[in-house]
Subunit: 131 residues, 2 copies
């Protein structure tokens, strides 16, 4: 089994959790949810430590699942922006519920929202999002 793929696991929940469970995925989704639509480069900077390869892989997957959209602007240099779709936002809603549970169980009650301690990289710059 290893990782759940769409083909071999016909269970919808497994598909969804399989997507979320990918490395960095939650981190990325959280950045997009707090920061708004974000360009590739900035995303890479905010998701600290991620490799280019991983980032593109995860973005492609999230896009396939229609949780994020990809907007390509053919300027020079080109600008590519990623943001949450309605699906993505709906998902984040439930993730926040999960987060509430997690907060109660694992502590750190003063840190709010999905991103948690990832915040320290971002918090002050959270307003310079593209939209």
């Amino acid at each position: 089994m290893a990782r759940v793929s769409k083909e071999e696991s016909p269970c919808p929940l497994s598909i969804l959790v399989g997507v979320l469970s990918g490395p960095w995925t939650l981190y990325i989704v959280w950045v997009l949810s707090t920061n708004g639509a974000t360009r590739f480069g900035e995303l890479k900077r905010r998701v600290e430590g991620i490799s280019t390869k991983m980032l593109t892989e995860r973005l492609r997957l999230l896009e396939q699942e229609a949780l994020i959209y990809r907007h390509y602007e053919p300027t020079v240099p080109p600008q590519v922006t990623y943001g949450l779709t309605d699906r993505g936002k709906e998902l984040v809603g439930i993730l926040n519920q999960l987060n509430d549970l997690a907060q109660r169980w694992y502590g750190q009650p003063d840190v709010a929202q999905v991103g948690c301690t990832f915040v320290d990289t971002v918090e002050t710059a959270a307003t310079d999002a593209i939209r």
Copy 2:
């Protein structure tokens, strides 16, 4: 990063999703939620295809996170029973919400509850649980 561990990821949600994202984990939790407390051997049979190693690993982790309990009965032969804790049940509640989303997005609207298509192995025998 690879897989999220409790030490390196101080984010509660990441911890929780990290646990759920482990292979077979969701499957196991679902069996316990529909089947009630279950012995190791039966668990291994119901979670079709899992290896002994994986099963024990996942059970240990879920136990550490207090999502399941382990009950050891020192008979001969010994009986070990696993079941959802209150935490676990609370979690399943939210998982069912996630499942509703997943059902809407990925179809299969006639299959209910967390387990989905895993059901075909179990459905008829869902009543012979230990409690």
